[in-house]
Amino acid sequence: MITLSRVFKRYPGGRQALNDVGFTVEAGELLFITGPSGAGKTTLLKLLAAIERPTSGTVIVSGQNVGTLKSGAIPFLRRKFGLIFQDHKLLFDRNAFHNVALPLDIAGYGAKDAARRVRAALDKVGLLKYEKALPITLSGGEQQRLCIARAIVHRPAILLADEPTGNLDIEYASAIGDLFQSFNQVGVTVIVATHDQALLARLNPRVIALRNGALAEAA
């Protein structure tokens, strides 16, 4: 489903973020990318969603070479993903319901169908009772779960999460770990970049460790 081969990424200014990285992810896998901060985890996720392009090497996502994709095709690539951000990237001018509905608006779902899917997603992350709440009134863990609801509402084939438990205490973190596991069990490919060892121990996934932009070990 996802293949990286000989991927290098150098940022303008000379920082080498990724150095000859290559691996393959099968559909339905649960994969953790670990490593200390600055190891290149976030860059790797950005390459997958075409937020950044590799300096050299190829990134293939379901048969498409992401590195050479035309800019007009990028939005449609991104719709294959559900993106979960450490800083949530919620919109604070609208309530939880409309935040989650955003991917469906973009994809052009009808209002009825969209409402049904939004409620299902909110229910899945346990926020259905807060559908009218503004994100600012939610706790950090709830905001993260809202972000997850937005990522899964359009039923993407691949879930990408960047430090999803970065700012959360251990109870919230384990709840989110369980959510990822449940998505993975219904066939979603889940890729999580994290340095959270507790989460790792709990889910026991395949692990790709990065160190200074290069693969440290592949399991």
């Binding site: 969603a49 937020i51 007009g72 939005p75 449609f76 690539l77 991104r78 719709r79 993903f81 993106l83 990237k89 919620l90 919109l91 001018d93 955003l102 991917p103 608006d105 973009i106 994809a107 052009g108 779902y109 009808g110 209002a111 937005r150």
Partner: protein, 302 residues
């Protein structure tokens, strides 16, 4: 197709909400655009009215040919024959000098003065309409008639009307220039408004880009905003011009009572009113399009 329509309908709705959320700013913007549009539109309405008035007065240019005072009946008959045979003359009318004097008495009210004249100072005259009313043809015919025997003077009546026409045409050019300048201003106003909007909605643009929005989807609400703002400005301009014409007509009503004439300004016809809504809307769209294209490329998700 339904998806597309649905997205557009929703976008229209959210744009209206956006306009309503900042009522003061929106209203001021509309007024700026509306007042700017008022100038050329008002001038256009005025010129249109003058044109209509001058059209009444100079519907058909005529040539007046005056005979010598001592021309005999036979000489007059000869001229009449020439006119009848001339292929360039559409029709003519003979005004005998006595008849002309009677008309002058009736229309001017100077009966006493005219009666005191020792003799009739007016010559016999022919009023001639030409088949071809182009200025060149009229001039040629006038010159030809002036050469005929016992014709003292031949004159074209439509000169002043043509002058007015030329002046009005000049006025139209000014309207066009003014309109062009203010159209540019409208594009610039919209450009700036949308620039501010894109900047304040930076976060939103970034997020929707990240979750797979196409550029068209991101651009759409801004384009709607620009177009709606332009149309609203057009509406304001229409209200102002129509109100202005109404005020002028009310005062003209009193004035024309005094002068016993009925001159009223026409309102903008419906077609013009529709154009006045659509044209600024299109300009607003263009301004928004330029602005979004310019500023959207600066916002890349990181």
């Amino acid at each position: 197709m339904n998806v597309w329509l649905g997205q557009h309908a929703r976008c229209f709705g959210t744009t209206m909400v956006k306009l309503a959320r900042t009522p003061l700013g929106s209203v001021f913007n509309m007024f700026v655009i509306g007042i700017a549009l008022c100038l050329p539109v008002g001038l256009y309405a005025l010129i249109d009215n003058l044109q209509a008035a001058s059209g009444h007065l100079a519907a058909e240019p005529q040539i007046s040919a005056f005979m010598a005072l001592d021309a005999s009946k036979g000489e007059i008959a000869q001229i009449e024959l020439r006119l009848k045979q001339n292929p360039r003359v559409e029709r003519y009318r003979f005004v005998a000098r006595d008849q002309a004097l009677q008309e002058l008495k009736q229309s001017s009210g100077l009966t006493d003065v005219i009666d005191s004249l020792p003799q009739n100072p007016l010559p016999d005259a022919f009023i001639i309409s030409a088949k071809n009313n182009t200025p060149q043809a009229l001039d040629a015919l006038r010159e030809e008639i002036a050469q005929w025997p016992r014709i003292v003077h031949a004159q074209l009546d439509a000169v002043w009307a043509r002058r007015l026409d030329a002046t009005l045409r000049f006025g139209r050019v000014i309207v066009l220039i003014l309109g062009g300048l203010l159209a540019l201003a409208l594009v610039a106003i919209t450009f700036n408004t949308i620039r501010l909007q894109v900047l304040t909605q930076r976060d939103e643009v970034e997020v929707v880009k990240l979750i797979g929005a196409t550029d068209a989807f991101i651009r759409r609400p801004f384009l709607y905003y620009g177009a709606l703002q332009g149309a609203a400005g057009g509406l304001v301009a229409w209200l102002f011009v129509t109100g202005g014409i109404w005020l002028i007509n009310r005062n003209l009503g009193e004035l024309s009572h005094v002068y016993a004439s009925l001159f009223q300004l026409k309102y903008l016809p419906p077609v013009d009113a529709v154009v006045l809504l659509l044209f600024p809307a299109a300009l607003g769209w263009v301004g928004a399009w330029l602005s979004v294209g310019r500023h959207l490329s600066h916002i890349e998700p990181v």
